[in-house]
């Protein structure tokens, strides 16, 4: 197990380097250090000397990919790409344009993000799976058909509609909850309850259909026929066998999402004024703060890869045939 995880972590290194190449190409080759210097110093009266000194000050004075002046290993090492990537691998994200430490900001904002994303995820998962199990009991009936039509309708509505309609109804018209904002501690519930409910509801359509199709596929397998042949009731078959066997495809889709919950939700957080990582990212995009966007891209990739590893590990808990090697 331990050796397996170590191997997977080593496999992650080339992927992260690839991610770095992409972000580096996007951010540095289009927006070169010269452009950055000019933007920082002001467009007018910048001399080449001023640009050079700004680059030295900010550590951007090396070539992009290949340093011909250095010797030996330094030819590759003393380049902007390696320097910048190394910093990211050490989770040193540098400063944002406003002069704050990005790493500190991220740590501070992870809490609110999780406070919103985790309940939405857990409640959504439980709701979707229970509804899907319920509807599988009634498969082929008129109730099934109608529910599936409703599910298609729910997933055809833009998520933005649920947010706006929810805010108007519950906050503006009925004044049940404040329209947006956030506080520390348990008081935050009054700010979080509406976005959580909206998030769960918006996901019901797609989620219910997805789990239903998983369970229906399991229902058509031979072991279900055997179980029914020996006289088990529908409910016992469903909860005793189908739920357990359907766990593998469910895990594939679900576990990989868990680590990325840290990233927060861009749309929800910015609509409801929750100071998490999602609104942090969206503010950075609006302000064109490349440092933050770069940090979030890297963080997102790391979390995704952790999610992939967790998925593999979780298989072993539900299917004894799966061996990690």
């Amino acid at each position: 197990m331990f050796a397996y995880i170590l191997k997977r972590l080593l496999f992650a290194v080339p992927i992260l380097i690839g991610v770095n190449v992409i972000t580096f190409a996007l951010f540095f080759m289009v927006n070169t250090p010269e452009d950055m210097a000019r933007a920082q110093l002001g467009a007018k009266q910048t001399t080449p000397e001023m640009i050079q000194s700004w680059k030295v000050e900010n550590g951007y004075d090396n070539p992009l990919f290949f340093n011909g002046e250095a010797s030996g290993f330094g030819k590759v090492q003393e380049t902007l790409f390696v320097q910048e990537s190394l910093k990211l691998f050490l989770f040193d994200f540098g400063q944002s344009d406003s002069g704050r430490q990005i790493s500190a900001d991220i740590q501070e904002r992870m809490g609110p993000s999780l406070a919103l994303a985790l309940p939405t995820f857990v409640i959504g998962l439980v709701t979707n799976i229970s509804l899907a199990l319920l509807i599988v009991l009634f498969r082929g009936s008129r109730l099934d058909t109608i529910t599936m039509m409703v599910a298609v309708a729910i997933m055809s509505v833009s998520g933005l509609f649920y947010i706006i309609a929810g805010q108007v109804l519950f906050s503006k018209v009925w004044h049940w909850v404040p329209i947006s904002g956030y506080t520390e501690g348990w008081d935050a519930i009054k700010f979080l309850i509406l976005p959580i409910l909206i998030g769960v509801f918006a996901g019901i359509g797609a989620g219910m259909r997805w789990y239903r199709s998983i369970f229906l596929e399991e229902m058509s397998k031979d072991y279900v026929r055997t179980a029914k042949a020996k006289g088990l009731s529908d409910i016992k078959v469903l909860f005793g066998h189908v739920l357990h066997n359907g766990m593998l495809p469910i895990l594939t889709g679900v576990v990989v999402v868990i680590p990325t919950l840290f990233m927060g939700s861009l749309i929800m957080e910015s609509f409801f004024g929750i100071p998490g990582l999602g609104s942090y990212t969206i503010d950075a995009i609006h302000a064109q703060d490349f440092g933050i966007v770069k940090a979030m891209v890297f963080l997102g990739s790391v979390l995704y890869i952790i999610g992939l590893i967790l998925t593999d590990i979780s298989y072993t808990f539900f299917d004894p045939r799966v061996k990690l090697s």
Partner: protein, 470 residues
């Protein structure tokens, strides 16, 4: 007047040509034709297909652009003489909706309103200041006397209703006549009165949908000469016009993105599955890397960079239309580059499976080149997966456009799109009473398209996916 071919126009017409080619080849193959009849046999799928075609028609009408030469028309209003300069790049749709485009008000007005939505200061002859709801320039100004708006609308509904009845009757007559000509030409084939496959299609649902669509459109079109049917926005532009113009953006993002992603997914997926070894490793590495970057962030980063390029090289673009168009094209490319991974993985797995089958082994033993094997034996067996993935992706892309525009990395702010409409209207939420019609129109147009696409893709999946057949 000279035609202007924007990049997205060229691409969308290319896609239409490809589609026509595909339909021709479908007509040749008995098996595929049966599958399509099977898909359309469901009344819901039939209605959805008709709605999708209508949206496509609007998008195509909006994709023929020409340079409109300057022509100044004088519009006299009660207070001043305003001359409206019509100049710039227009599309065929703009010409059809000429009155909607030019009849702008000063600011917000509700649907079917005759007065502005908010009060503004007014000075009367004595110089006294008062708050009044100014009356609109165009909306409802034909009303005289004590005729209420409701009465007027009821009376005016008769015209589009009659029109759509006649329209449907003509279509039905053409349909009958065509069927009659077909049977008369080769009556020997049919003298046994075999049921034709066309007869099994749900024509009732088809005509009902068509009637509703024609009636709805002609109703909006006719009444829009007298009212702002869906109100006006902050600068007085007609919301109905914006919503209709947004169709092009939505449909193009849904369609053209697939055009970008399909070659990538097909070539890479099949090569990974067929050649295995290092090719497989490289391609797997490629899509795992791309997949691991959060999609919205990758799009955001790429669009931010494009903005930097555009602002650094503003000399590249002749007009604002060209710049907006290039931005749309770029967004489509980025969406395509980020969305091929899912289909690629599917195709790779399926190719791995197929290349173990006996007929492929036999083809190899005969000495066929890998290219021929892929072309003849593998690709045709993957087509159902491709089709399912394409129709599934379409609705997701339409919805994604709205979210991306909200994030600020969507289409150009000057391009009409549902995302931009929602984004602008969202800022007016705090207004009391609320300005709801922009939001409502954008969501309603989007919902209809996405619902139709989802229902259609469901049916396609049921018919084409072998696992769903049991």
């Amino acid at each position: 007047m000279s035609f202007v071919w924007l990049w997205t126009d060229i691409l969308v017409w290319t896609l239409v040509l490809v589609l026509i080619g595909a339909i021709r080849s479908i007509r040749r193959s008995e098996q595929i034709r049966k599958q399509w009849f099977n898909i359309l046999k469901s009344p819901i799928a039939m209605s959805a297909a008709i709605i999708l075609s209508t949206y496509l028609l609007f998008a195509l009408l909006d994709s023929v652009h020409f340079q409109y030469t300057a022509k100044s028309t004088s519009v006299s209003s009660e207070s001043s003489e305003i001359s409206v300069h019509d100049q710039g790049v227009l599309s065929v749709l703009d010409v059809l909706l000429q009155h909607l485009r030019t009849q702008t008000e000063r600011t917000y007005s509700a649907p079917f309103a005759t007065h502005e939505y908010s009060t503004s200061l007014s000075y009367d002859e004595s110089g006294a200041v008062s708050q009044v709801y100014r009356s609109l320039q165009y909306g409802g100004q034909h009303l005289t006397g004590d005729k209420t708006i409701l009465d007027d609308v009821m009376v005016k509904t008769a015209v589009p209703f009659l029109f759509s009845c006649v329209f449907i009757a003509i279509i039905f007559a053409i349909h009958l006549g065509w069927g009659f000509l077909q049977t008369r030409g080769n009556y020997i084939d049919y003298y046994e009165n075999q049921p034709k496959p066309e007869d099994e299609l749900p024509w009732g649902a088809a005509y009902l949908t068509l009637f509703l669509l024609v009636f709805l459109f002609s109703w909006f079109y006719y009444l829009s000469h007298f009212y702002h049917v869906l109100g006006t926005d902050k600068v007085g532009q007609d919301v109905l016009y914006q919503a209709i113009k947004s169709i092009r953006t939505g449909v193009l993002i849904g369609l053209l993105t697939t055009l970008v992603m399909l070659p990538l997914a097909l070539i890479l997926g099949i090569s990974a599955g067929y050649f295995k070894g290092w090719v497989d490793d490289v391609i797997q590495y490629l899509y795992t890397t791309l997949n691991s970057i959060p999609g919205v962030l990758l799009i955001a980063a790429a669009v931010l960079m494009m903005q930097v390029i555009i602002s650094n090289n503003s000399g590249w673009f002749g007009s604002t239309e060209e710049r907006a168009d290039l931005r749309l094209l770029f967004l489509i490319f980025i969406l395509g580059l980020t969305s091929w991974t899912g289909l690629c993985r599917l195709l790779r797995a399926e190719t791995l499976k197929i290349s173990q089958v006996e007929y492929v082994t036999a083809a190899k033993a005969f000495g066929l080149s890998p290219f021929r094997i892929i072309q003849k034996h593998i690709t045709p067996n993957l087509m159902h997966l491709v089709l399912i993935a394409l129709v599934l992706d379409f609705s997701g892309l339409v919805l994604a456009e709205a979210v991306l525009s909200y994030v600020g990395v969507g289409v150009d702010p000057t391009t009409a799109s549902w995302g931009n409409m929602i984004n602008q209207a969202r800022l007016e939420m705090a207004r009391e009473p609320m300005v709801w019609w922009s939001l409502f129109s954008a969501f309603a147009f989007m919902f209809t398209l996405v619902l139709a696409a989802n229902l259609f893709s469901d049916r396609v999946q049921t018919v084409l996916d072998p696992r769903r057949n049991n």
